[in-house]
Subunit: 352 residues, 2 copies
């Protein structure tokens, strides 16, 4: 198929044609088509002439046609399966997107952000991912029943998942995770070392591996803990505040809290203050994330488990780009790096 | 071109073919292709058989090929030409995206979010917009030198702009704006009616029409105002705080401030408090936006100019979808509704 046979007729729009480029460059249409699609087998001098003509006329190759030839879009989807209200209020996503954006930008690949508001959206997002608009996808915030990894796998779209998936639909599935369980052990171990004896935890949604792993870390340190000291929540500020109030009602003698995210920890601080508890004197609090705009600014500043969120975004993008560069063959599978678990560390501030 | 000739060879991926669908449905490949591309001229009973086979096999038509036939992606780009750090910290964008998302979702069209971090990104974003991946685009936060409307126009991509553009590159250019000038007059008129005599303003970036129009509204009420009472800023919290500090240094006798966004107004409240000024007794403050998560929660709650941000997002999406539905001909231009200016009103709370 030649380039121009796919050139659409758009009514009322003057769009420079492939013929016009060929005429200005003084070459055949086939040559222009070859240059536009990567330039293989075209002399450098001819290629430059064509490129000058392309620029002069502002010619834009029809991408749908070009994609059929090159199989490249120079674009990567980032799919966040969380409500827009959460994506935009949780600095976690912004920091991760910043890392991804920097890495893709350096590779001249366009970041295409797709949000999944509710389960009805999966079908449409899956269609877009299958539609040849992106070269690969980074998938975020995967709850247990998230159908996207399987959808992407079925249509052969390379993906990297943010956070360990529950079950690998594909043994080559790449992901970047943080050491959630080890981080939680650091947090709870620190509270135990301070002599706290009634250490509660506020968890994230337990259908996410990050939340389940942090709870496992808590249990590693406190295998015989009272289940009343565990409050399941959802990683949000509102949820964290509600969970803290519940814990105070159930166990007024609580003397420490490990909240599995900084947003939940900051809400816990507020609820403790409203109930007249001093932090850390009466109740010590540790968070998780070390969000740059949150942890250092709470009152008192938050002791928390640091994960390098922006760097995780960069790593995800880098893994995907490497898989795309080696796309396809068995060789690529051998040289493509494996999934990554990034380390955590405890940042001690005033709250514990 | 038939559907299957464009079916890509992907190594190592089992992807159901058009032939498999034809076999299962007991119809010809041409019939499957026609159904997949819209079903024109295919009997309902045959169409249903094909659709059942498509679902059973999980067949996904090659979209690049399909797009060449249908010219439809069922996707709309939202381009925000602001740094990610601002997009994710300013609730304005989240509210507008919510409105857009609801409207597109109802039309089963995918929202594709593209951020422009710096001027180097325009080329890449323009390429994606030109690439046949979306049916149209909503363009936001246009500074005076933003090349995107012209880029989109050149490749014939229908657009609706959020905010009045400086110069229409196209007399049919659709936009949705709020009555910025009228809103500013309401705010400053209210302060004047309270008897305030040294009314300052903190502006947005004056290369955006929204900021320029709000300053014009201020000048409508105070044509002979002291230029020292005008502090140019950037719509952000940090910028608003800096501008308030400057105003206090230049004119310690200031007795009222119209800040052209709620985020700037909330920072102004904080800076005034730090300088020992009581609001509204010493200095009355009015904002602009009525952001749901900001205006009612400041201390004291903020008197502000309300614009219905979510509704503006819905209107933008609706205008674009209507233009797409009537795509192309001269008839469409006649029936497509014109740009919209939405009204504002003053919401009086404690700050003025």
């Amino acid at each position: 198929m030649t380039e121009e046979s796919a050139q659409p007729e758009r009514i009322g729009v003057l769009r420079p044609t492939l013929e016009a480029v060929a005429e200005l460059a003084g070459v055949s249409r086939a040559t222009v088509s070859r240059v536009v699609n990567g330039g293989a087998g075209v002399r450098a001098s001819l290629r430059e002439r064509v490129q000058r003509a392309v620029e002069e006329l502002g010619y834009v190759p029809n991408q749908a046609a070009r994609t059929l030839v090159t199989r490249r879009n120079d674009a990567v989807a980032v799919v966040v399966a969380e409500p827009e209200s959460r994506v935009f209020s949780d600095p976690f996503f912004a920091q991760q997107l910043r890392g991804i954006g920097k890495e893709l930008s350096a590779a001249d690949s366009q970041l295409v952000l797709l949000l999944v508001e509710d389960t009805g959206d999966y079908q449409r997002v899956g269609r877009y991912l299958a539609g040849g608009h992106v070269d690969g996808a980074l998938l975020f915030s995967l709850h247990q029943d998230d159908p996207l990894p399987a959808m992407a796998h079925r249509v052969g779209l390379p993906t990297v998942i943010g956070g360990r998936p529950w079950a690998a639909t594909d043994r080559d599935q790449l992901y970047v995770d943080t050491d959630n369980r080890g981080g939680a052990r650091l947090a709870v171990g620190h509270l135990a070392a301070l002599g706290r004896r009634r250490i509660a935890t506020i968890t994230g949604p337990l259908d996410q591996t990050s939340a389940a792993d942090r709870l496992d870390g808590y249990r590693d340190i406190l295998p015989d803990g009272d289940p009343q000291l565990i409050a399941e929540s959802d990683f949000t500020q509102e949820g964290g505040g509600r969970a803290m109030a519940e814990l105070l009602a159930r166990r007024p003698d609580v003397d420490a809290v490990f909240a599995a995210s900084d947003l939940m920890a900051s809400a816990a601080l507020r609820v403790l203050r409203e109930h007249g508890r001093r932090v850390p004197e009466d109740v010590a609090v540790v968070g998780f994330d070390d969000l740059e705009s949150v942890a250092a600014w709470t009152d008192p500043p938050l002791t928390t488990v640091r994960q390098d969120i922006e760097d995780m975004g960069r790593l995800m993008a880098r893994l995907l780009l490497r898989r795309l560069a080696g796309n396809g063959g068995a060789d690529a599978a051998r040289t493509t790096p494996a999934s990554v678990i990034t380390p955590t560390r405890l940042v001690v501030r005033a709250s514990a």
